[in-house]
Homo-oligomer: 142 residues x 2
Amino acid sequence: MSTTVKTKWVGDMVFDAEINGHHLLMDADPEWGGKNAGPRPKPLLLAALAGCSGLDIVSILNKMQEKDYTFEIESEAESTSEYPITYHTILLKFLFTGETLHQDKIVKAVTLSTERYCGVSAMLKKSTNIIVKIFINGKEVI
Amino acid sequence: MSTTVKTKWVGDMVFDAEINGHHLLMDADPEWGGKNAGPRPKPLLLAALAGCSGLDIVSILNKMQEKDYTFEIESEAESTSEYPITYHTILLKFLFTGETLHQDKIVKAVTLSTERYCGVSAMLKKSTNIIVKIFINGKEVI
């Protein structure tokens, strides 16, 4: 399958990417002449990683009849200091809240995504150390 | 340096990522229960790749006094057919239009970004074959 994203330079340090029919502005860091018209490009990798695994996990938990919860993901990246500046480590925290949650189902859903299904994770882990942590109601379980 | 992106599940298959203070919705493919409230997560990698190199290139060309042009980037990815579904190849087309452009400066700026400066490119090329093509006024020059 083929996927195309078209990105146009719209002036200054702003680029407009068209993704699945949606427009996303990206802008440079103010240190590099940007004006924060949109996010920096590189942190989009962290959103893609969270979104990819998040969708897997919600889908898997739904099949397990685990439906009554809130769910957030924090992606914290540490960068190299030399060019090209890359993320050498990403800490991926999966934060679940709910009174009827089953820890075994949560752990299984997260593990299936991060180790088997999530293509973004599979791609980024070739260049980055991805550390996964799971919290249920504020308590770290893995 | 540390970078954090927070992503919340907002219901159905929709996630809201906060990146540099901007909110970006992501949604699953309609085939997987999504309603196109935002882009799919994985193509964000293609936007990040284009934006990262695009910013480098505009910045380098500016230093070279090359300023009078329009500039677009097409990122075309081919996916694997097995899980995890990843991009095995990305064709990155840099499309410049302008009457006073110098081919040598364009080629140098693109090459400096894709081979030395762009961190997103450096990360993705560990898992993906990235093919770079440059077009000036519709003519392929590399």
